[in-house]
Symmetry: C2
Subunit: 222 residues, 2 copies
């Protein structure tokens, strides 16, 4: 369960089209906003908060669900109180030609909360939640490292989870600090922080990390 395949149209031929089905308008986004903070609101209350009629709310709600925009409803828990207060990230290097096996093994690991294939130095990032540090160690050494597909791992612990949003919406933009003026590179007029970057983009600070060797080829296999 809980398998995804968001980006990258899985190797197939057709381009991963965006916006199949529903065309989301402002009202849809508003519904998703309400649902993000209270997934258990009644559709009546939802209609009220969004400012539409009940019937309309039912229609749209059902449409969002049927169209797959809303995948499911769930809860957010306090992991500490639930007994799993230790979080770790495990960066995995996967052996070529063994992605399918790697994925299969992952599905067998209930302690894995999140797994994503990434560009950069490693191939995948796994987030696990455990009761104590020793369990993380055991998991990495006894379970993960025993998977033939796993070539190497690198583990870091999460000291504090500063922020977590269930999801981000396009309508969220503009609520925070300054909004991005133009689509691409636009020079910000001021910003007097003598940090050294003279209003230009401190590109030296940034470092994009490309995909590891042979990554592209591997995607097809899975």
């Amino acid at each position: 369960m809980t398998e995804m395949s968001s980006n990258s149209g899985s190797g197939g031929g057709a381009t991963g089209r965006i916006g199949i089905g529903l065309e989301l308008d402002a009202t849809h986004l508003k519904i998703l906003e309400v649902l993000r903070d209270n997934g258990r609101v009644s559709v009546s209350a939802l209609a009220e908060r969004v400012g539409i009629s009940r019937a309309n709310a039912y229609t749209r709600f059902e449409a969002l669900r049927a169209d797959g925009v809303i995948k499911r409803f769930t809860a957010e828990i306090d992991h500490q109180r639930a007994g799993l207060g230790i979080v770790a990230l495990i960066f995995v290097t996967v052996r070529q030609q063994m992605w399918r096996q790697f994925r299969a093994q992952l599905a067998q690991m209930p302690e894995v909360e999140y797994c994503a294939i990434t560009t950069g130095q490693h191939d995948a990032m796994i987030q696990v939640r455990m009761a104590d540090v020793a369990e993380v160690h055991a998991m990495v050494t006894e379970r993960l490292a025993n998977i033939p597909a796993v070539k190497a791992t690198e583990t870091v612990f999460i000291l504090d989870e500063v922020l977590r949003r269930p999801y981000v919406l396009p309508s969220d933009r503009g609520r925070g600090a300054q909004r991005r003026p133009a689509p691409s590179a636009s020079p910000e007029p001021e910003q007097g922080q003598g940090q050294g970057q003279g209003q230009g983009l401190p590109l030296g600070k940034m470092r994009f990390v490309g995909a590891a060797e042979g990554r592209a080829a591997l995607r097809d296999e899975s």
Copy 2:
């Protein structure tokens, strides 16, 4: 909104106690299991699935909520269809003594879905969701890099989100592959793990990454 502070009792004096309030029994966990997959079930249906009476379900449900074990209910959406199909991880090195500012700035960024303080080479990991790759670039160079607290960043893109579970529960263990024998640091009779783990654990494969310089001191400031 959506601020957390799970691990590491925030600098204060009292040890971060585990299990304040509710002592979760098997029934509580079962409730959380049901709620994970269907956050909108009626309490009646919940009671039925868990195998307890309605009133009992209401009591426990309310207790979990009031005690903070359940923090909120929310939805899971298809980000691609919602218009934000690009995911990136930004690993941030934070300047000493500027954690408070770093956190404050983060709260101003609605496109940030997740942020955690980590051990290892970097200080924090930020997950953002954007409409396209250019937006990620703009976000890193124009917004993040302009924060004085940010010393350096390293960005990787997520090619595929293989797996996401809303949360992991202690009761999940044992459903996957082989189970770990003992809970914690219980003296295992066999397996003379002098340090090099007796039964052939490929420890060479693993690499734990410690905290960056001056990390411990920084925690107090935030």
